[in-house]
Amino acid sequence: MDNLLEIQNLTVELMSTRGIVYALSGVDLAVRPGEIHGIVGESGCGKSMTAKSILRLHNPQRSRMRGSIRFEGRELLDLSNREMEKLRGTDISMIFQDPMTSLNPIMTIGGQIADMYRVHTGAGKAEAWEKAQELLAKVGIEPASKRCKQYPFELSGGMQQRVMIAMAIACSPKLLIADEPTTALDVTIQAQILELLQQLSADMGMSILLITHNFGVVAETCDRVSVMYAGKVVETGDTRELLQGASHPYSRALIRSIPGGGAKGSRLETIPGSPPALFEPPLSCMFAPRCPYAEEGCLKAYPAMADCGGGHLAACFKPLDKEVPAHV
């Protein structure tokens, strides 16, 4: 099966006042048609950076991108700005963590959706307004004809996120990038939004790249998942398989630090130390200084992604055995 999106060896370097930041150093990622693919990792590991790179949202004057991002076989890094603009919102669209800051506070939600639709399709005003209502109904904001005329501040956070989703799916994109779409929401609302995303993905055959820091969200929504650490993907695989038996020591430690598995008051597993600052290009395994299994070789070279059975890839010289359950 051909991949819808294929990222190979993507590096992103950002200029900062303190020098070059190696934000991404060789990301490999593939999203299949129709699947929900999760990217999970802690703050600063490059999840959002990867998402923004796909849409080329970095300031070109202050960043340098190398590698390859192929979408339906087209190389996105070679496209002109105009071609890229055409792609954004029609073939690939994106929703963000905080819907309130993404919506225009002094414009009705119907107006915003209609405007966006007109820009991309050249439709007339009346047609776009119709479409806006149809989209709102599709994401569960009813009665749409009345809600269309409301302003963002009149809606709750969950409803605002639904508006963002309505806007993102207006042109039936093939890929939706959702950057922490439920992090600002309460759990009961989070459940509603995740349900909606899954349903839309199934109905429209749309792939979703879901970025989150919550393994629980991944477990319930994603078909496959990639774990990121310090600007690299360290493990990729089928969600269920990875959660039950992570091969990379970092993924496993991360899964084990989630409370809820052990008895009340039992000690939670922690990862000693903190993630590396990204001011130097990585030459060895980035996790080695914190890894309980690290050996001399780990500090000398970066491990390539290797298959540990059934399409499950891990970037580790000493991948862990699957038999040990990851979450006891």
Binding site: S156, V187, T188, H213, G216, A219, E220, I258, P259, G265
Partner: protein, 321 residues
């Protein structure tokens, strides 16, 4: 049984809302309505609920950072409901708070050492004693001594939150309110902070009100748990009893909405319709009635009271017990 460290009786906190038009009747936001709880010495009391349910206001009211609209608050047996200004000062020393975002609770230009010493100075602790105490606490929270010469932007979120905990412990308070202390942190750092809290609790026999929106964290840490919805407690019990025997429909939905690692879990998911109703025009019946999957006609007519259904398990629902 000895006197609990903090005890609230029928606590009510309302905020007046300015009327938008002349002559419009005044409206009131019912942030906390009729909450009673007591936290015994050495235990951690958890408050869970979604945003806007009044959990932070409850914490602030117990510390008397808010004036109280109705009911009583007792601290170590003393009625502190109506104390004001100067009379509260000696209490402040005994009651401390830890906030969600450590970057916002430290002065960004002030060195850590100075921030910690200031606390001691305000409460007239002798300088040499304070110095020794600070060094001891740094050791407890596993940070090197040169931390004192740094400013907050040089620290990570987890390190700074540990310092916030140390600052709260500096005066040996009898009671601490921790308002979402781990919500802004990554899971691996969150685990470190939770471990630290469990250690410190043993060592200093801390009494704490732990406010969180995460059921799993509360379950892991707390002895007693109260679940809040729209300003009222809907269910309260010993932690183990509550989580093994979820009785209120709201608690059940809240628990089932949490994404877990178990792929089978999702099938039993109860997805709630709608949002939290406004705390300004609270309906007369059960506050949860509009969203409750088991709602009956009586639920819309009268508000259910908290009642004991055995094992000190309190539930406010017409359909339980």
């Amino acid at each position: 049984m000895s006197e609990p460290v903090i005890r609230a009786e029928h606590l009510v906190k309302e905020f007046p809302i300015a009327s938008k038009k002349l002559g419009e009747p005044k409206k009131v936001l019912h942030a906390v309505s009729d909450v009673s709880l007591s936290v015994p010495k050495g235990s951690i009391f958890g408050i869970v609920g979604e945003s806007g349910c009044g959990k932070s206001t409850l914490g602030r009211s117990l510390l008397r950072l808010e004036t109280i609209t109705g009911g009583k608050v007792y601290f170590q047996g003393q009625d502190i409901t109506d104390l004001s200004g100067k009379d509260l000062l000696p209490l402040r020393r005994n009651m401390q708070m830890i906030f969600q975002n450590p970057y916002a609770s430290f002065n960004p230009k002030q060195k850590i050492g100075s921030a910690l010493r200031e606390v001691a100075k305000v409460h007239k602790m002798p300088a040499d004693q304070a110095e020794e105490k600070i060094r001891n606490l740094l050791h407890e929270i596993n940070l090197p001594e040169d931390t004192l010469h740094r400013i907050p932007s040089e620290m990570s979120g987890g390190q700074l939150q540990r310092l916030a905990i140390a600052r709260a412990l500096l005066l040996d308070p009898a009671f601490i309110v921790a308002d979402e202390p781990v919500s802004a942190l990554d899971v691996s750092v969150q685990a470190q902070i939770l471990n630290l809290m469990m250690d410190l609790r043993e060592k200093f026999s801390l009494t704490m009100l732990f406010i969180s929106h995460e059921m799993t964290v509360v379950r892991h840490l707390c002895d007693q748990v109260a679940v809040m919805y729209l300003g009222t407690v809907v269910e309260q019990a010993e932690s183990e009893e509550l989580f093994n025997n979820l009785l209120h429909p709201y608690t059940q939905t809240l628990m089932s909405a949490i994404p877990t690692l178990d792929p089978e879990h999702k099938k039993q998911r109860i997805v709630l319709q709608g949002d939290l109703p406004s705390a300004i025009d609270v309906p007369p019946g059960c506050p949860f009635a509009d969203r409750c999957p088991k709602c009956q006609p009586q639920c819309r007519e009268s508000r259910p009271q908290l009642k004991d259904v055995g094992n000190n398990h309190l539930v406010a629902c017409h359909l339980v017990g």
